[in-house]
Symmetry: C2
Subunit: 183 residues, 2 copies
DNA sequence: AATGGGTGAGACATCATTGTCTCATTCGGG
DNA sequence: CCCGAATGAGACAATGATGTCTCACCCATT
């Protein structure tokens, strides 16, 4: 009887990922509940998006933890992270394009923390001689986000196979398109 | 006196790139004209977005032409293209996220044509032994779009320098983050 | 079986945006 | 210099989404 808030959030994430301008009514239907109930759990659309933001940050952080970024070669850590982040890729793509989140001054500082951890991984890779130093950690971080979003979108659209998600992103980000002697 | 339609479109592109949900009133103000005039030139918001789509496709195609994709090494051609596409990167990022464009069946077939030309470049690079073959042309095309969008956003936000736009994208896409013997 | 909390459906007012219209003004070509 | 076309500002109705409320109903607990 009682609605599972977390389940509603995940359904909302799917609906909004598919169409960012979905109405509260569409979100409610996607979650299999009534619009009134949706409003009972989230004061409004704003609150819903904020809750999704928190969920996304939380899962992103969980993926970072599970990937153990500090252990082993930075490239391997990056591969682990991409594998862990795959289930949330669609939600993250939605949140990133929801640029109104980043307009106000009340920007969730969780993003900065996540950016910091990802940047730190790239920096570690550079300091240990594994990554090239002419591409800044900030850019590598942005690029990783962009590739994750692109891959999530391509998989959702059936242009690439879901099973290749981790491989495609990691190989492109680490090795690039150029054929090199190693590999 | 008479409004320059092309100039209005470019102003609209800037406004909508910055905030995808900008109202017609905001777009009009951004273009320095009245809302009534905006409606006189574009029958409605739908028509405006369609016009922007056509503009984006046209400029994208112009960038492809200017880059002479068939000439020389594929990597060099890609670099030229990235340089040429830089001025339209923001508009393209907006159009790609405006996924409602791709819901209806009346999807502008210009996108397929552009995708084809970009994919062909990657395929040529693979056939000539310049690019690795374990990453599909379709994925490399998606990745290129994603990186262009990420870079445009990062530059707009001041996280990376505008002058590095071409270099960052090309180096990452071609060579990847890993340090390799060549380079 | 009785009870109470949570829910779905719908009604309702409110609000923002859109699209259309009018009218005064202004700019440019003849 | 004058006339006409295009513009800006504002009024207006229509539309769609939002947020709130009521009420009947269902299910779980007691």
């Amino acid at each position: 009887m009682t609605v599972d808030r977390d389940q509603v959030l995940r359904a909302a994430a799917v609906a909004l990922t598919r169409k960012a301008t979905s109405t509260m009514d569409e979100v409610a239907k996607a979650a299999g509940i009534g619009r009134a109930t949706l409003h009972r759990h989230f004061a409004g659309r704003e609150a819903l998006v904020r809750a999704l933001e928190n969920l996304g940050i939380q899962e992103f952080e969980a993926a970072l933890d599970a990937a153990r970024l500090d252990e082993g070669p930075a490239g391997d850590a990056l591969r682990r992270f991409i594998g862990e982040v795959e289930p949330v890729a669609g939600l993250l793509a939605f949140l990133v394009t929801e640029n109104q989140l980043f307009e106000g001054e009340e920007m969730n500082d969780g993003w900065a923390r996540l950016d910091g951890r990802v940047s730190a991984l790239f920096r570690r890779g550079q300091e240990q001689g594994e990554f090239r130093i002419d591409l800044t950690p900030a850019w590598l971080t942005e690029a990783l986000y962009g590739l994750i979003g692109s891959a999530a979108w391509a998989v959702q659209d059936g242009r690439v196979a879901a099973k290749d998600f981790q491989y495609m992103i990691a190989e492109l980000l680490l090795g690039g398109a150029r054929r090199s002697v190693e590999q």
